[in-house]
């Protein structure tokens, strides 16, 4: 391990879409956030609250309108392989085999084929996918594809994993299974995770810390430390207490977001 440990620092980060036009939209309003090395931070909020926008800015895919984002003390100016992103839709390239997909980032770096395959095999095996190396992405189930996407991110040995509702398109059982995987991956790789979701259950199951967003414009309503033991027991009283606390925190925001969407549609 190097000195770089996957710490993130956001100061006064603001994003205005379409600045200077009549459709100006304040998506993220002046937020501060620190992610400690190896920490699992979940951003929770109603849809359209700007949590994904903040994630894209940390990834370097979008530039903040104002404010500063640092990864390991270095200002973020663009995407970098130290911060790997996992998207909601399965984003495996259909023209590559599963092994080639997992090794894609390594290929961009010029790693030779045999070595890429070896890395892919090892990672896929830890994700329970040791036997699909030469399969086609279309031959996999949604859950398998998302695991392969995680393996692809891990192949880059990122210090930060950025996950944008990665399990939202999966059924409940698969989702629970993948949450176990991601908790285990975090444990083994030591990477920090910044995870976006609108599912309270997912947040409670995974997070060290939960950032609750307000409806648009995105601000932090509360930051909740999660002090439950791992693995999390969804039947424990403490789990339920936290869950209910989050439901209360979110209720108003969900209503506001819903009302705004209805208004915008008319």
């Amino acid at each position: 391990m190097t000195d770089a440990t996957g710490a993130l620092r956001c100061r006064g980060v603001t994003k205005i879409w379409g600045e200077g036009t009549t459709k100006e939209l304040l998506a993220v309003d002046n937020v501060d956030l620190d992610v400690r090395p190896g920490e699992f931070v979940v951003m929770l909020g109603p849809s359209g609250c700007g949590k994904s926008t903040l994630l894209s800015m940390v990834a370097g895919l979008e530039q903040p309108t104002a404010g500063l984002i640092e990864a390991d003390g270095e200002p973020v100016t663009g995407p970098g392989p130290d911060r790997c992103m996992i998207f909601q839709q399965s984003s495996l390239y259909p023209w590559l085999s599963v092994a080639d997909n997992v090794g894609f980032g390594l290929r961009l770096r010029g790693v030779p084929k045999a070595e890429r395959r070896e890395v892919a095999q090892k990672l896929l095996r830890t994700m329970g996918l040791g036997d699909v190396l030469d399969k086609h992405p279309d031959e996999l189930s949604g859950g398998m594809r998302q695991r392969a996407a995680i393996a692809r991110a891990l192949a880059m040995r990122p210090r930060v994993l950025l996950m944008d509702e990665p399990f939202a398109a999966l059924d409940v059982q698969t989702r629970a299974k993948l949450q176990d995987y991601i908790a285990q991956v975090r444990e083994e790789s030591g990477a920090s995770v910044l995870f976006v979701t609108h599912s309270i259950d997912e947040a409670v199951a995974l997070a060290d810390r939960i950032v609750v967003f307000t409806a648009r414009p995105g601000r932090f309503k509360a930051i909740v430390d999660v002090e439950l033991d791992r693995p999390r027991d969804p039947r424990s009283a403490a789990y339920h207490e936290l869950h209910d606390q989050l439901v209360d925190l979110l209720a108003d925001e969900v209503d506001r977001a819903f009302a705004e969407q209805e208004r915008a549609a008319r």
Binding site: A59, G60, P79, S91
Partner: protein
Amino acid sequence: MSKTAEIAVGRARPQTAAARRKRSWARKTGVAAGWWVASVALFAGLWELAWAAGWAPQLLLPPPHIFLQNFSRQAKFFDTSTIGQAQAAPVVAVLTTIVATLLRVLAGLALGFVASLVTGTLITQFRVVRGLVLPTLTLLAPISPIAWLPVSIFLFGIGNGPAVFMVFVGVYFVMTLATISQINGVSATYLNLARTMGASKRQMLFQVIVPSILPGLLQTLRLNLFAAWMVVLLAEAVGVGSGLGQVVMLARNTFNASLVFFTMTLIGVTGYLLDTAFRQLQRRLLWWQPASNGGSR
């Protein structure tokens, strides 16, 4: 004892499955071939009937049994060697003519494909190129290749040049516009993903954009294949002096109806084979695409 029986069954099963697959494939192919024969026979039969019954003009609509009958006499018209020189064998003369036409089409298609890919890519990557080139291109695109015929002769005179140019014009504009819309339609997730993994512009282009747009482009190219096959005949009829198009024109000028239909048959069959070959190429190249999209899955 029951164990050996099981093993024997287990071993026998894959063979029978393979044999069954093979049989069903043979049957499918047989049925398809049957329909082909029936369809062509029906068409030819009606024609023959109409001719024999005297409903069709006897001289102007000679039925298949007449225009296909004397191959070597028909083939004589395909021979471009001048009088006094050694005459080529009939089959050789016909094949040479077909190949000459085919090569013109393929050259035009290949040039058009590559040029449109390059133009389309430059237009999407550089704003200046887009601003300077796209408006003119959109104005030139709706002009029929036939209107380009005089231009192609002014530019290239007589020979292969004008025919290749006509095919090129026939695919270039359409394919350039298709390339632009395909590139604009590449999934943002595919691009963002490559960006987060540190892809350079060049890597983005060759490892993400090109494979993403290839299925759509080949589909467009295949749709334009027939158009190219038609345009080349026109160019040959006017400005080349050899090829299938020239033979059709010769047949028209000499009022040789038999030769017209003989050449039309060759044009139809060759065009069909060209399309079939292209489909095979697509299947090989696009192995990850479903069959409905030109792939082999």
